[in-house]
């Protein structure tokens, strides 16, 4: 194995021979050419790591050759050393301006040339290492991007499938994670007694950690609702699950509800979450009086055994519930005004009739509040209509 390939370009055979001798003795493979044209021909077959080229040669001279090498995307990384008499027609700066990596003055000592070659190969080695690492990093980044895209698709798969329907209800959602994958989650589970269990939650933070916890939140919710019970018992159970299984900084705000379609009775728990908006008769579209389902309470996962409070309300035929995470309303305009829950409440006073059109209307209105800046937080919107 040679230490590398050096191309010696000089019209004087004697110089080619001397340099060739020393280079071979030092362990390099040597190619030779009499001028630029011949050198390019040689390079058509073998690409050298280093070029030692005379400046003045009949045919293509060294400056022209250097320009071609440094101008070609395939060849510009080849280390180029111009060998020339520094007699006014050629200066070191002039040579470096041509793009040469270094210069050697003629007449030269073979040892000086060899020292330059050795140092050039150290630099070439480092450049190769950087290129290799760069390639490795790019590969790593590509794999991460692919993995995140897969995770994002998986997370989408955790959401209820659309068009959403449960006995007595229709619903839809808009799910816009800030970083491809996010900490928002919602779930709608029809229970055996005919009522509907409902969750929307927002895990603190963003990205992969939040996404993992959001999956945990959904699993916890679904395991607590299956046996029945009420939102209060669900919240207590989920709080315990999260407090035990996450770090102290990680928790989730949540709204949990149970709606019985036979009576229209709704029980709910607000766990640090923004209160959903209830629009009586809202499923028919048009002008209505929306109001916030009031309530407050601890977020889930801070500490075991924190108390929660359950409230009740009526959710009649034709009523609409707008559930959301705070990313939807925490859009800040340049004048620092937030859309806020009040802003959303105003928008909810007159929504299109279909859940799909109403969702698009709300998301677009929130977006245009701070156009063209994107949402900075994860955004989830769910519209649930009782038919």
């Amino acid at each position: 194995m040679s230490k590398g390939i050096v191309l010696v370009v000089d019209d004087e055979a004697q110089i080619r021979d001397i340099l060739g001798f020393y280079l071979k003795r030092a362990g390099y493979q040597v190619l030779t050419a009499e001028n630029g044209n011949e050198a390019l021909e040689v390079m058509g077959k073998v690409q050298p790591d280093l070029i030692l080229s005379d400046l003045r040669m009949p045919g293509m001279a060294g400056d022209e050759f250097c320009r071609i090498i440094k101008g070609g995307p395939e060849t510009r990384d080849i280390y180029f050393v111009l060998v020339s008499a520094m007699d006014g027609s050629a200066t070191k700066i002039g040579g470096l301006n041509l793009g040469a990596d270094d210069m050697i003055a003629k007449p030269f000592h073979a040892q000086e040339v060899m020292a330059k070659v050795e140092s050039a190969f150290r630099i070439i080695g480092m450049q190769k290492e950087i290129k290799r690492q760069n390639l490795e990093l790019t590969g790593f980044q590509d794999r991460m991007t692919t993995e995140l895209a897969i995770a994002a698709r998986l997370q989408m798969g955790l959401l209820p499938s659309l068009p959403g329907a449960a006995p007595g209800f229709r619903y839809t959602h808009r799910y816009l994670p800030a970083e491809g994958i996010g900490g928002d989650i919602y779930s709608i589970v029809p229970l055996v007694d005919g009522s509907l269990a409902l969750l929307i939650a927002d895990v603190s933070g963003h990205g992969v950690t939040a996404a993992l916890i959001s999956a945990m939140v959904k699993t916890s919710f679904e395991s607590h609702v299956r046996p029945g019970g009420n939102p209060l018992s669900w919240a207590v159970g989920m709080n315990r699950d999260l407090a035990r299984n996450t770090l102290s900084e990680q928790f989730a705000t949540a709204f949990l509800a149970r709606i019985d379609p036979s009576t229209g009775a709704m029980q709910y728990v607000v766990a640090g979450h923004v209160g959903p908006i209830h629009i009586p008769n809202g499923a028919q579209g048009g002008l209505h009086r929306p109001h916030v389902l009031a309530g407050h309470g601890f977020m889930l996962g801070i500490e075991e055994d924190l108390p929660f409070e359950e409230k009740s309300a009526k959710f009649d035929h034709g009523d609409r519930l707008v559930l959301f995470t705070d990313g939807l309303v925490e859009v800040e305009r340049e004048d620092r005004k937030l859309l806020g829950e009040d802003g959303l409440l105003r928008l909810c006073a007159e929504l299109p009739q279909s859940e799909e059109a109403a969702s698009d209307f709300l998301v677009n209105a929130a977006k245009s509040f701070n156009d063209p800046a994107p949402f900075v937080d994860d955004v989830t919107l769910v519209i649930l209509d009782r038919v």
Partner: protein, 112 residues
């Protein structure tokens, strides 16, 4: 922009936070609180939120974690100077009942 300053008042450590407390700055704030707890092992830590213009759930999480780490050292955490906007967030999340909250830094230091 977030501005964090710390000083000692007798056995108490006071951390003053100004600006927007959100996901992007929690790492910085977490370091300051951890360093203060490690260095001074305070019996009382006061976090002054008077200059906070906005706090999101990551910021709240950080305060909960701060309480836990001060608790572990048998210390107490007092919060003070909550602006109306922050107070609203605390009310919504019931954290008003989770933390010891005082109107002014002096009150928080006296613990009254």
């Amino acid at each position: 922009m977030l501005n964090i300053q710390t000083h000692q008042e007798g056995n108490a450590s006071v951390v003053t936070i100004q600006g927007k407390v959100n996901f992007e700055v929690t790492a910085q704030l977490r370091d300051v609180i951890r360093d203060t707890v490690t260095t001074h092992q305070p019996k009382l830590m006061v976090i002054n939120l008077e200059g906070v213009t906005f706090i999101d759930s990551s910021g709240l999480g950080l305060l909960v974690a701060a309480r836990n780490s001060v608790d572990k050292n048998n210390g107490k955490l007092h919060l003070c100077g909550l602006p109306a906007q922050v107070k609203k967030t605390f009310d919504q999340t019931n954290l008003t009942n989770y933390f010891s909250i005082f109107a002014t830094e002096q009150d928080a230091l006296r613990g009254a």
